[in-house]
């Protein structure tokens, strides 16, 4: 991780220092407002914590305060004492729900409660029957046990699935333990960072992560990247000086979890673990409530619907059976049957499996989903608030344009460049390339010769890195060029003179002159030049040429690029002989009247896959909002280049400029795009923000802090949108939590962000979000199909009970048999539907409306229950009557026989032919009936499975064989039915009997009818979109 972080550079164009203070206060205020008293206290705590005075104290005062010595450090014994008092230096992970609670939740969630009721009733009736001495009492005991087992097993399964997906995440948090160099007992020791205590003296060098909040007492060129804390992208220099009252502003404190970019420092640990600033913020983030995911709401809605149907039919028929003078006990047993028939026992497990299959598929596409339900949330996303740096862009400065010989050249900014295509024949370029190569302190870290240049890790700041890589790509081995042009003197860049200068020997052995090279802010460089190089020749810098320079500078700056100017001077050999001693302090060499050579401009370029992904989002009806800490011009330039702001749209400012009128007079509605500055956002009321979000379709928020992200997310949610937010810093975590789906960056993201997020983007690439959206939408469609498939046969399971009660026929299907369908034959086929390909381009329709587009809508339920379900019941009943008729009981004989049929004492029950049956012979026939009914449902479920492959298109267009898993499902379904019928047909407890082969085919015509009917339905839907048929039959 530490190593990874070191190649993270950000754009450094304008400082954002003046923003921090207000932002942090903003955040506090916001949290206060939002979370009422309890949270207010927390925020107060944070404020108090910020009242650090360590930055004001002198080193000796600090030594006193913390009982330590800067030379010797703490003693091991003292350190152990403090460690025992304060605890380890680590953030407390967010409080996890106890495992047992999670487990119990699975046991009572969803349909489980209904099944528990069923099991309870079974045991009650067992108790009553046992007391009455009824022989078959134990059947009810077993049924109760089976129901309880079903609940427990599906509960364990769901729990296991959930645990598995959490485990993927757990692996993330277990990173290599960080080490820190600590002075203890007057010795330097390397300790795990969590062993640090207050008062420890630690040493930090470039590339390290700061192991705790540290008051610096010695620094050397130290710079830290505070972006994960404050969101500012520019590395901040650190020194021992007390520069600001605000501890967050002062230079002499380095914060936990930020990174030291370069230089070294030594400091005293002043805060550890949760008491660090980051720890405070992390605990605030955990206070932002998690909202229910859309799919959780959908499933809840579906569970209510099915449970409602189950309970109302159950109660209705309880009343009917009581009023038909059935015994109360019998009525209760009917009720159990109705509940079991109505509840799709296997469905929730199937949904879980489907979601985790999709999660796996998404992980392959670099979207790691922490929470299974987030899979679908991504699909219903209607707004994506994306970071710019690293997500939309490559997160590295790259040379984009060059200007020399009065001409602008474009450079290749793609991720895997190996050459540069622009014209390199001009001698001016040779001179420019030499300056670029020499006037640069950045170096490749050793041992990376085999890596592509663009992937190599560099020690140095972002723009120097860009220049180094640029010259390495064009010129080859930069380090050897530098070695041949030995550096004799150097003035590093600083913010007062805004240039960098170095003096080199030349690589031409004949030429004994020194070469002075200089780069820096273009206007400053130009000031120092008197000539300009055109086609290799020095020409005087007249006003015309200066004008050309200005134009080029403005043009490059206008593209949001960071522009650097380059100049050089060959020092005359006479004045500066080989032995000349250069002194950079007294500047005993010329630094004006130089020769201007050219300009280079750099930008963090967009990832090459992003423009395509953005346009996909647009066609998918997803609004992409860019939220960045960068300057509006850069933000807008990137937004334009990736298509977040499309080529034709204009902002209010653009219109004002075009029409030459003041900004206030522009009709805001004409502007489709908006670039909102963080400063403006701060002063906006939520109504104003809402107006911006409503009126503009293309929005860029620039110069925003991570804290303002939360405001933006809330604004989007007020519009009723499902919001996805990307983030990497610790300060992003409240926004990530607040968002419907928080997406953390896998590479650049901090642990806190990953903790708060629902999803981790392994490659930090925006395009991966879009593939995630596609998968999410597909799974929503496929879950619809799965549920429709599963619900259908519930009617075929329910009808037998209802007809049994009303017509008093022998029981057509047993409760246990129903469970074998729900949890046996139907499971694999319903999972197989999760593999179904999309029917049409799902990225060409709008995101689903949370309120209107339900997972289980009325049409789906009605079509499954009242049409296909009834057809299945008819087919199954035909089989049932056929079996009984061929054994001697014609349908007319069966009506009203229930009491005698089930009586144990009647062993000469007469059939339609005058034959007499014992009770067991009848029961065996009844089980054969169960088996026949079961087989018929299975056969018709094959047809049901096939028709559910599509909702609108013909099956033949979708392809019968494209989804192979469906066929696995069909074969498994039939295979399980065969095993149950012929393999377990002799186990009486399961109520299966071997079935004559021809009965497998009785329901086949009905299966074909189901298929044909559904094809007709789809045909009419396609032919008459928007018609009555479409409205009522399309689910």
């Amino acid at each position: 991780m530490v190593k990874k972080r070191s190649d993270v550079y950000s754009v450094e164009i304008y400082g954002t220092k003046d923003l921090h203070k207000t932002e942090i206060e903003d955040e506090e205020e916001k949290h206060k407002e939002q979370k009422g008293n309890k949270k207010k206290k927390k925020a107060e705590d944070l404020k108090k914590e910020l009242d650090l005075d360590d930055h004001r104290l002198s080193p000796s005062e600090l030594e006193m305060k913390y009982g330590t010595s800067i030379d010797k450090g703490l003693s091991s014994a003292r350190a152990a004492e403090i460690l025992a008092r304060d605890g380890p230096n680590a953030l407390t992970p967010p409080k996890a729900t106890p495992e047992i609670v999670k487990f119990l939740k699975q046991m009572i969630g969803g349909f489980s409660i209904l099944l528990w009721i069923g099991a309870g009733f079974s045991w009650i009736s067992f108790g009553i029957q046992l007391a009455q001495g009824v022989d078959s009492a134990f059947d009810n005991l077993y049924l109760g046990v089976v129901l309880a087992l079903v609940v427990i097993l599906t509960g364990i399964f769901a729990y296991y699935q959930e645990a598995k997906s959490t485990n993927i995440m757990a692996s993330f948090s277990k990173m290599i333990p960080q080490q820190a160099v600590v002075l203890r007992d007057a010795e330097k020791k390397e300790l795990p960072a969590d062993q640090l205590v207050v008062g420890d003296i630690v040493e930090i060098k470039g590339g390290d992560r700061i192991p705790a909040d540290i008051r610096l007492i010695f620094t050397q060129g130290c710079k830290v990247d505070n972006s994960s804390l404050t969101g500012e992208s520019e590395p901040q220099s650190r020194s021992c000086d007390f520069t600001h009252e605000n501890p967050l502003e002062t230079r002499n404190i380095a914060f936990y979890s930020t990174t030291c970019v370069e230089g070294t420092a030594t400091g005293i640990v002043i805060n550890t673990g949760d008491r660090t600033i980051i720890g405070r913020i992390a605990s605030l983030a955990s206070g932002v409530g998690n909202e229910k995911t859309p799919i959780a709401i959908e499933i809840e809605h579906f569970v209510y619907l099915v449970a409602g149907v189950a309970i109302s039919i159950g109660v209705l028929f309880f009343i009917i059976s009581v009023s038909m003078h059935y015994k109360i006990l019998d009525s209760i047993i009917f009720l159990i049957g109705i509940i079991v028939a109505n509840v799709p026992e296997g469905l929730l497990a199937t949904v879980t499996v489907s979601l985790s299959l999709t999660a796996k598929r998404m992980a392959k596409k670099n979207c790691l989903v922490k929470n299974l339900e987030a899979v679908e949330t991504l699909g219903s996303t209607s707004i994506i608030c994306s970071d710019k740096t690293g997500t939309l862009t490559q997160n590295r400065m790259t040379v984009a344009h060059l200007w020399f010989d009065n001409q602008i050249y474009s450079a290749d900014t793609s991720e895997d460049q190996t050459t540069q295509p622009f014209d390199q024949s001009s001698p001016s370029w040779t001179a420019l390339s030499k300056i670029v190569t020499l006037c640069n302190r950045a170096e490749f870290r050793p041992g990376q010769e085999n890596l592509p240049i663009m992937k190599r890790v560099v020690a140095g700041d972002a723009s120097e890195t860009a220049l180094l890589k640029f010259s390495e790509v064009i010129l080859g081995d930069v380090m050897s060029i530098r070695a041949q042009n030995k550096k004799v003197a150097e003035i590093p860049f600083n913010s007062t003179n805004k240039f960098q200068l170095s003096i080199h020997e030349t690589d031409d052995p004949q030429d004994k002159r020194f070469l002075l090279v200089m780069k820096g802010a273009p206007e400053r460089i130009l000031e120092r030049c008197s000539t300009i190089m055109i086609n290799g020749k020095e020409e005087p810098l007249d006003s015309e040429k200066a004008e050309a320079f200005q134009t080029a500078y403005m043009e490059l700056g206008g593209m949001g690029e960071r522009v650097l100017g380059f100049c050089h001077l060959y020092l005359p050999e006479k004045e500066f002989p080989e032995t000349f001693q250069f002194d950079t302090d007294s500047m005993n060499f010329p630094s004006s009247n130089l020769c201007f050579v050219g300009l280079l401009s750099m930008i963090d370029p967009p990832r090459s896959t992003v423009p395509d992904a953005v346009s996909k989002c647009r066609s998918a009806g997803i609004k992409v909002i860019m939220v960045t800490g960068d300057h509006p011009i850069t933000a807008k330039a990137i937004a334009k280049s990736v298509g977040i702001i499309s080529a034709t749209s204009e902002t209010v400012e653009d219109i004002a400029k075009r029409l030459n009128i003041p900004v206030e007079q522009v009709n805001r509605r004409e502007a489709t795009a908006a670039v909102v500055n963080g400063m403006e956002l701060k002063d906006m009321s939520s109504e104003q923000l809402d107006a911006i979000l409503r009126e503009h379709s293309e929005i860029v928020f620039a110069r925003t802090s991570p804290q303002q992200k939360l405001i933006i997310v809330e604004g989007c949610q007020r519009q009723g949108a499902v919001v996805a937010v990307t983030g990497d810093g610790v300060n992003d975590s409240p926004a990530l939590k607040k968002a419907d789906i928080g997406i953390a960056m896998g590479i650049a993201g901090s642990d806190a962000a990953k903790n708060a997020a629902d999803m981790v983007l392994l490659d930090d690439n925006f395009a991966s979000i879009v593939t995630g959206v596609e998968e999410g939408r597909l799974i929503f469609d496929n879950l619809k199909k799965t549920i429709a498939y599963t619900l259908t046969k519930n009617i075929a399971e329910l009808c037998p009970f209802l007809i049994y009660i009303i017509a008093s026929i022998p029981m057509p299907i047993g409760t246990i048999t129903i469970l074998f369908i729900d949890l046996g034959t139907d499971i694999i086929p319903s999972v197989a539907l999760a593999y179904e390909k999309a029917e049409s381009d799902i990225m060409n329709r709008r995101p689903r409306n949370k309120r209107r587009d339900r997972l289980v809508n009325q049409q789906l339920a009605v079509y499954s229950y009242l049409q296909i379900g009834i057809m299945q019941s008819v087919g199954a009943f035909v089989t049932y009557f056929t079996v009984y008729a061929e054994q001697g009981f014609l349908p007319s004989t069966l009506l009203g026989v229930r009491v005698n049929w089930e009586s144990n004492g009647i062993n000469d029950f007469e059939d339609s032919y005058g034959q007499q049956w014992t009770h067991y012979q009848r029961m065996y026939l009844q089980w054969t009936g169960y088996t026949a009914f079961f087989v018929s449902i299975t056969i018709q479920q094959v047809a049901d499975l096939i028709i559910r492959k599509t909702r609108r298109n013909s099956i033949f267009r979708q392809g019968l064989f494209r989804n192979k898993v469906i066929w696995v499902g069909i074969f498994s379904q039939i295979g399980i039915a065969l095993i149950l019928t012929y393999g377990l047909g002799h186990v009486t407890a399961l109520n299966f009997t071997p079935l004559r082969f021809q009965y497998w085919f009785v329901a086949v015509p009905f299966a074909i009818l189901i298929w044909v009917y559904d094809e007709i339905r789809k045909l009419l839907i396609r032919r008459h979109p928007g018609s009555w048929w479409d409205k009522n039959m399309y689910y």
Binding site: Q887, D908, Y920, Q921
Partner: protein
């Protein structure tokens, strides 16, 4: 404050439901307008009408394929069940000799059962068949030609025939009769041409002494082969099921007797674990005396 809010929310819910039930603005009842309801009801009328028709059609086709005289499969009835009369709840024949109301129902049931066995009825309806062999009546030219049944005269049951003014089947005297009959199964030829009979005994051998001697009528509990085969109720209208009467002439009173009767016929298994009535019947007898 909070209560106000709740009230309003509650009121809203009621209003929403009312609007769902009947929305006067869009004239919608339960979310559909009148014409929409009409269409949907018409659709389901047609749809279910079609399904009902289809069901009726397939059932009709199926019934056409079913032979009305002999069922297609009889493999579940390879061993016919045995049953007793009187057939009290739970096969439990319990009565008190001195209290006539406890056994009158049994007597009534037996009278009713044996009515069709009256000698006069048998003589009028059925034929006297040659004893000792199956009464096979093959269809020669006319299929399913009505079959003649063989006579089983009630008088053959001796004291258990229940004839005469005191025809109480021995219940009044504490020597009760129980009738055992074999379930009718079409085309069933028991005993492989050898004579078959019903054997009764105490279920547990050690109880045999308490149960005392059993008298079987017809003698030896023989069932004549002429009563087989049965041709089904359509063609074998007057078929009289053979019965065997068991008289418990000296059963110990006030004791539960567990009696088991088996059909003793060659090639017939009577030890099916699961079906307690296949070729056998077990019942409880208790004669109470004060």
């Amino acid at each position: 404050m909070a209560r106000d809010k709740e009230k309003r929310i509650c009121g809203q819910v009621v209003a929403e439901w009312r609007a769902f039930l009947w929305d006067p603005r869009t004239r919608q009842f339960l979310g559909r307008t009148g014409s929409s309801w009409g269409l949907i009801l018409l659709f389901y009328l047609v749809f279910y009408g079609f399904l009902a028709g289809l069901f009726a059609l397939t059932m009709w086709v199926m019934l056409q394929s079913v032979n009305p005289h002999v069922p297609k499969y009889q493999y579940r009835l390879l061993t016919p069940g045995l049953m007793i009369r009187p057939c009290a709840e739970g096969l439990d024949v319990t009565f008190n000799v001195t209290q006539s109301h406890t056994w009158e129902q049994h007597v009534r049931a037996l009278h009713q059962f044996l009515e069709s066995y009256n000698d006069s009825v048998q003589a009028a309806r059925n034929a006297a068949c040659p004893a000792g062999r199956y009464n096979e009546q093959p269809d020669d030219a006319v299929p399913n030609y009505p079959k003649r049944a063989c006579r089983f005269e009630r008088s053959r049951l001796g004291p258990c025939a229940g004839l005469g003014p005191h025809g109480d089947y021995g219940y009044g005297s504490g020597r009760p009769c129980v009738l055992v009959k074999v379930n009718r199964v079409i085309n069933f030829f028991p005993g492989k041409n050898k004579s078959i009979n019903i054997v009764c005994a105490a279920k547990h051998e050690e109880d045999a002494a308490l149960l005392g001697p059993l008298n079987l009528f017809p003698p030896n509990g023989t069932i004549d082969l002429m009563y087989f085969p049965y041709y089904g109720k359509r063609v074998h209208v007057n078929y009289t099921q053979p019965v065997v009467a068991v008289q418990f002439s000296n059963a110990t009173a006030n004791v539960d007797h567990h009696v088991e009767c088996r059909l003793n016929a060659a090639g017939l298994r009577t030890d099916d674990e699961r079906d307690k009535f296949a070729g056998r019947v077990a019942f409880r007898l208790r004669i109470n005396r004060e």
